[in-house]
Structures are given as structure tokens and as C-alpha cells.
């Protein structure tokens, strides 16, 4: 298979409410900025792929409007996944591997602010047996956290430590929506939200967009001094029936991590797409990440969670650290569905 590397990444400011700005307005600046960062324009792009979800915009074919943010005359080679844009990145890799493209643009975007996100996500479940009960996304994550507490795998203190570390790390990320210095004791003193979750255990609602460039080997070396090479990548799905899963585990993350080659070397940095604090702990365990690994130095999804871009953001943040010479080997992870149902893991190297 041909080699591929990430050579550019831009993220918009993570905001609770982007106001009247539509999706195209959110996408346009990040697409322009990421192209400027390596000195290319749309005519140099062989393939463009985006990730978004119609339901957040409340309109069918919402990504068609999103495409207005990209120069499409003359027509471009383009595709779209109704998934996190990390899977759009995967589609780009398929194009590069099969020799159909050398330089690809990926973007992900959403405005979750106008709708009721936790209820919209209920519609991901089995429409005949589960949806009529309207279990919302936060309640399902709470069931998972409860299962972990009951099994003695984690304590509420462990969860608060994840939050404190994420918010503190986010102080160094100017794009982060939530950041700050809080002690574990202060966090544990906060009231419950959906037991056992407190509000800070849940990723915020965020509007925004992100863009990333991925290239074949020769193009990557030409455009970037220190590309972030994708050394291994794999993604795996689990059943949609929550009752059939052990929610304290993530076999799909473990398997994808093994296939991506996470354990083949020391990991400097890992960005894990964990919209809930306890999920970071599951992922750390399943990917076998040692105690010394820097986890979510961007602040992670707990500091800003643009639906359909937050997984791509994990790739972007790891790649940025490698491109800037701050890390040599990193792990990027994206998830989809309730309680970490689907997981994508990649190893990036300098």
C-alpha cells in the first residue's frame, strides 16, 4: 500500500453558539487556512471528502450546502460520509492507497446548538425497539459509567481527574471552548447531572468546523517539512444492541488499536475521542497506553466537541504535534455511536 501523511490541519474556535453563521461560513475559513498553510489551492486537490450529519442542521442533503464553502467550478472529485470526518479521512486514504489521489482535503462540521443534541442522538438507536423509549445519549453514557463504577473499575475521583486534566490542558489551546484550573475536590463537589455523571463529565455542545490535508508520500514531502505519517489505521464496529455489550469494555477499540500497531513502539501523545470522562479511561485501558503517555493535550472532546469533527480533531492535534516536532509517535482515535460503539484508531509518526 502507498504511504500517506497528514500535512496540515486547522480548527475553528470551539463555540457554544455560532450565532447566525451557517455551516458554509464555519467551513470556509478553516478550508482556506489549511490550504494556505501548505501553499495549495482547490485546483491542487485531487479528492475532497467531508463528514457531517443532516439531523444537526435539520435538513436533508445538508452537506450539499456545506460544499458551497469549497471552490467547485470546475467540478471536483468529492464524497461525503454521514459520520465523523475521521472516516472521511479514511475514505481519502482509500483513494491514496489505490493510486487515485495524491492530495486530499477533509473537513468536518456541525452546528449542534439549534437542536436538542442528546435527543437527536437517540435516533441512532434501533427505531423499532429502542427509540420509542427515548433513551438519550447522556443517559446511555451514564449507564456505562455506572456499570464501570459498580464493577469497581473506576471511581468518581478517577472521572474527575480526567476532567481536571483536560480543562487544565485546554488552557494552552486557544481554540478550546472550556478550559480552566479546577481541583478534583472542586469538581466532585459539583451537583449531579444524570447520575453518576456531573455536567463536567460530559462534552459540551459546540459549533464549528475543522479541515485537514492528507497526501501521498511524494506530495507530502514536497509540501511539508515534517509530515505526520499514518503508519497504521483500522476501525471496527460493535453491535447496536446495548444489552448485548459489556459496556465496561471496548473490544472494537482494542482490536483496531492492535491492528493499527499501537503497541509496536512508545507512544508520546494520544488524542482520544471520549465525549464522556469515563470513556477516556476505557480507551486508555483498551489501547494499552502507559501512564507516561500525554493524553488529550488539546483538552480533548471535554474541552470542545464539534459533532462530526471531534474525531478528525484528534487526528489533527496529534499530527500538529508531530509536524511541529513536539512528538515523535502518537495515537489518534475517533468514535461513533452510543457508548463507544464504533472506533477508529491510527498511529502517526514523524
Amino acid at each position: 500500500m502507498r504511504e500517506a501523511a497528514i500535512i496540515g490541519y486547522t480548527q475553528s474556535a470551539q463555540r457554544r453558539y455560532a450565532g447566525a453563521a451557517n455551516e458554509s461560513e464555519l467551513i470556509m475559513p478553516v478550508v482556506r487556512e489549511v490550504m494556505q498553510s501548505v501553499g495549495v489551492s482547490q485546483k491542487d486537490i485531487d479528492f475532497t471528502c467531508s463528514g457531517s450529519c443532516d439531523y444537526f442542521q435539520g435538513a436533508a442533503f445538508a452537506f450539499v450546502e456545506g460544499l458551497n464553502a469549497v471552490a467547485t467550478a470546475p467540478p471536483i472529485r468529492e464524497s461525503h460520509v454521514e459520520m465523523d470526518a475521521a472516516w472521511a479521512l479514511y475514505e481519502c486514504l482509500l483513494k491514496i492507497w489505490s493510486g487515485e489521489a495524491d492530495l486530499c482535503l477533509v473537513y468536518g462540521f456541525s452546528k449542534s446548538s439549534p437542536g436538542e443534541l442528546r435527543s437527536v442522538l437517540t435516533l441512532q438507536l434501533d427505531p423499532y425497539y429502542q427509540v420509542p423509549l427515548w433513551p438519550d445519549a447522556i443517559s446511555l453514557a451514564a449507564l456505562q459509567a455506572r456499570a464501570m463504577l459498580d464493577a469497581g473499575i473506576i471511581s468518581e475521583r478517577d472521572m474527575a481527574e480526567v476532567v481536571a486534566r483536560s480543562r487544565r490542558a485546554a488552557l494552552a489551546n486557544p481554540k478550546a471552548q472550556l478550559s480552566g484550573e479546577s481541583s478534583v475536590e472542586e469538581l466532585l463537589a459539583q451537583p449531579g447531572f444524570v447520575s453518576p455523571l456531573r455536567r463536567h463529565d460530559c462534552a459540551p455542545i459546540t459549533d464549528g468546523a475543522s479541515a485537514l490535508l492528507v497526501a501521498s508520500a511524494e506530495t507530502a514531502r514536497r509540501l511539508c517539512a515534517r509530515p505526520a505519517w499514518i503508519r497504521g489505521i483500522d476501525h471496527r464496529m460493535e453491535t447496536g444492541m446495548l444489552g448485548a455489550r459489556d459496556l465496561t469494555r471496548s473490544p472494537s477499540a482494542r482490536y483496531a488499536g492492535a491492528r493499527a500497531g499501537v503497541s509496536a513502539g512508545a507512544v508520546d501523545v494520544a488524542e482520544l475521542h471520549a465525549p464522556f470522562s469515563h470513556q477516556e479511561i476505557i480507551l486508555r485501558r483498551e489501547l494499552g497506553l502507559a501512564d507516561g503517555v500525554s493524553i488529550n493535550p488539546s483538552g480533548g472532546a471535554l474541552a470542545g466537541n464539534v459533532m462530526m469533527a471531534a474525531g478528525l480533531d484528534r487526528f489533527g492535534h496529534v499530527a500538529t504535534r508531530i509536524m511541529q516536532g513536539e512528538a515523535g509517535r502518537g495515537v489518534a482515535h475517533a468514535t461513533s455511536g452510543a457508548c463507544l460503539q464504533q472506533n477508529l484508531v491510527a498511529v502517526l509518526e514523524a
Partner: protein, 385 residues
């Protein structure tokens, strides 16, 4: 274009207004099982699942790959969900081909579907958006002006659209999976059907269907071992452009011209009219057939309607179009593009049954979406490239 890839399994459901006998999961599984049977393989032989469908609002299930993974044997496997408007069935097949071309996967299953009876497509296609005037015209109302423009520009007589409608419905009578089966279809019947959006009459429009389509794609080694003849993929392509911009030609869209040029060049097609034995084109309203014939280079500009009139595109013509009955006879939107791709493959495999075009060796599948802004195509052959 990477490793060789072939279609070795094709499955589809009977397409109809309301599949009350199955859930969404049951519908897709039916198509998938038929594709696996054709390919002579089982669920465990499949390395990855690629799912495509049109807007989630058509069924009210968000990102349905999460729910459908159980029904499609996706657990423990890589699963990807593609959505590129009406062209999605085609572009999903293109992505699936890329899986095998990449060399990382040997056999993949790709599935597309729509269960339109779960919702109302015209409602879902006419959302009220902030700052945008509400049209509520549905797809036909949006496209009709371009057909009027086509008729006016080239002086096309009104019966041409009706002729396409009759031809596709006659073909559908030979396809047991086709939704619309109108045994006494005639030009008079189409001409007397109600006018919906001038010049589109009721019988010149596609139906709303429940249905699914599935394909198994395999690498060279596994294609050689498959029980039925493979259809070799000579080339795939997708193109997109903006829905609306100054100078956009909606009769011969630049995105389709570019898509066809790309796939022809990959497939070594220099004289489409002579080389292509049969084509499955995404024709949701009759008037698209003559317009596409021109855009795809099967004839000159303004000549497409003459091919229709002289019977060139009929099942016994020299370039049969939509031998399966096409989108005009079955329209499970998300699957409609993949059905075109799959029917093209069926033809070159010699497995199309009563609607088989005698001696078909090279076929193209085509899918269309958005406001003449999304296109996907592939060329398939009985001969290994």
C-alpha cells in the same frame, strides 16, 4: 488505479411501495444475503461493509449503520457510511471498489437502501431553512424548468418524454424485481396521465419505493474462484459541483461531462456509441434520458431525443438504456444508483434474465444526485482488464 476488482455478487429486493413484511434491517439483509449467495460466500468471508443511503430523514434513523450492523454482519468489521445525495448508491459502490483496489481488502460487501414508506420524501426534500425562501416543490418541481429549457433549446416534441416512460415500463415487465409493472402501458396512457410539473406527467415520474441493493466486490484471486462470471470494473469516477452558480449548464452539466470523461479514459472508451453495449442511467424523470445521451457523448448535442424516437435506446436497439426498467420503474432513492451499477454488472455477467441484452460485454452504470451537482459512474466488462 490500484488492484483489479470485480463484481462477483449482486442482490436486490423486490421493489415496492410498502414493504410491510420486513423492518429496515430485514430489507437490507434480504439484498445482502442474495448478493452473498450469488458470490458463493458467507458473512465471515467479508472483510468490510460499506453502507450507502440518501438522507437519514427518509426513515428517521440517524446514521443507520449503527443500528444495521447486526443485520449486515458488520460487527467486528470496518463499517463506513456514504451519503452523496441521490448519487449515493453509485458513489458507495465506488468507495467499495476503492477498498479492494487499495490492496488492503479482498472481499467487501456494499449495501444501499431506502424504505420510503417510513416517511415522506417530498416533505424531507423541502425543509424550511432560515433565510431561504420555502419552495416545497419536491424534486420534480425543481427539475421541470430545465426540461422545458431543453425542449425549447432544441425544438424537442412533447411525446419524447412519454416514449421514454413507455420504453422503461416495458422493460420493467421483464424484470421481476421492478416496482412498477404496468402490462397495458402505452403512449396514450402516459399522455393522458395527469400533468404534475410541466412538462412532467405522472407516468413520466419515478415511483417512491422500498428496496435495497447489495454487491460483493472481490480482488482478482477471489473473483477467479467465484461460482458465477465476474464483472470487471474498468474504471470508476465521481464529480460534484455547486448547486447553483452563474453560467451553470443544467442540461449538459459540467460535473457529468467531467465524470464521463474520467471513467471513459480509465476504461479505454473512445467511441461510447460503438463500444458501450448497454447503459443503466439514473433517469428519475423521463426527460433525463435524451439529455444524458448527449452529455455522455452517445450522440451530439440536441440529438438525444432523436435516438429515443428512433428506438436506439429500446431493449432491441443498438444502445439499450435501462434494460432493467430503470429509476422510472423502481426508486428506493438511496439504492437507485447502486441498482444502476449492479444492473450494468448483471448485463456483462450475462445474468440479467429476461431483460438481458444479447452479447453485452461492456456496460456503464451512472448515478445522479443533488441539483445536477453529484455524479458517479463506473464501466464494467466481461473481459478482465
Amino acid at each position: 488505479m490500484g488492484n483489479r476488482v470485480a463484481v462477483v455478487g449482486i442482490g436486490q429486493t423486490k421493489h415496492k411501495s410498502k414493504h410491510k413484511d420486513v423492518s429496515i434491517a430485514g430489507l437490507v439483509r434480504q439484498a445482502a444475503e442474495r448478493a452473498l449467495e450469488d458470490a458463493g460466500c458467507t458473512w465471515k468471508d467479508i472483510d468490510a461493509l460499506i453502507l450507502g443511503k440518501a438522507p437519514d430523514m427518509f426513515e428517521g434513523v440517524v446514521m443507520p449503520e449503527l443500528y444495521l450492523t447486526d443485520a449486515l454482519g458488520g460487527n467486528g468489521k470496518p463499517v463506513l457510511r456514504v451519503h452523496t445525495a441521490g448519487s449515493v448508491g453509485g458513489s458507495t459502490a465506488v468507495v467499495a471498489a476503492n477498498y479492494v483496489q487499495s490492496g488492503a481488502f479482498r472481499r467487501v460487501l456494499t449495501v444501499s437502501f431506502e424504505k420510503q414508506s417510513e416517511s415522506n420524501a417530498t416533505w424531507a426534500l423541502s425543509p424550511r431553512m432560515p433565510f431561504v425562501p420555502h419552495v416545497n416543490a419536491g424534486a420534480g418541481g425543481f427539475f421541470a424548468p430545465y426540461m422545458r429549457l431543453y425542449m425549447e433549446r432544441y425544438g424537442v416534441p412533447a411525446h419524447i418524454g412519454c416514449m421514454v416512460a413507455v420504453k422503461d415500463r416495458l422493460n420493467a415487465l421483464k424484470n421481476p424485481y421492478a416496482h412498477l409493472q404496468i402490462p397495458d402501458i402505452s403512449l396514450e396512457m402516459v399522455q393522458q396521465s395527469p400533468m404534475l410539473w410541466e412538462p412532467i406527467r405522472f407516468l413520466e415520474s419515478c415511483p417512491s419505493s422500498d428496496g435495497a441493493c447489495a454487491l460483493v466486490l472481490a480482488d482478482e484471486q477471489h473473483a477467479a474462484r467465484s461460482p458465477n462470471p465476474p464483472a470487471w470494473i474498468l474504471g470508476t469516477s465521481t464529480r460534484a459541483d455547486g448547486s447553483m452558480y452563474a453560467g451553470k449548464d443544467n442540461i449538459h452539466p459540467a460535473s457529468l461531462i467531467a465524470c464521463a470523461k474520467d471513467v471513459y479514459s480509465k476504461a479505454g472508451i473512445t467511441d461510447p456509441r460503438r463500444q458501450i453495449d448497454v447503459a443503466e442511467l439514473y433517469v428519475p424523470f423521463s426527460w433525463y434520458e435524451p439529455m444524458y445521451l448527449e452529455t455522455l457523448g452517445l450522440c451530439g448535442e440536441g440529438e438525444g431525443w432523436k435516438l429515443v424516437e428512433s428506438g436506439v435506446t429500446a431493449l432491441d436497439g443498438d444502445v439499450p438504456i435501462n434494460a432493467s426498467g430503470g429509476v422510472l420503474s423502481s426508486n428506493p432513492i438511496g439504492a437507485s444508483g447502486m441498482l444502476r451499477f449492479g444492473e450494468a454488472a448483471l448485463q456483462v455477467r450475462g445474468m440479467a434474465g429476461a431483460h438481458q441484452v444479447e452479447g453485452a460485454r461492456l456496460a456503464i452504470g451512472h448515478a445522479f444526485g443533488g441539483a445536477h451537482s453529484y455524479y458517479a459512474m463506473w464501466a464494467v466488462s466481461a473481459d478482465k482488464p
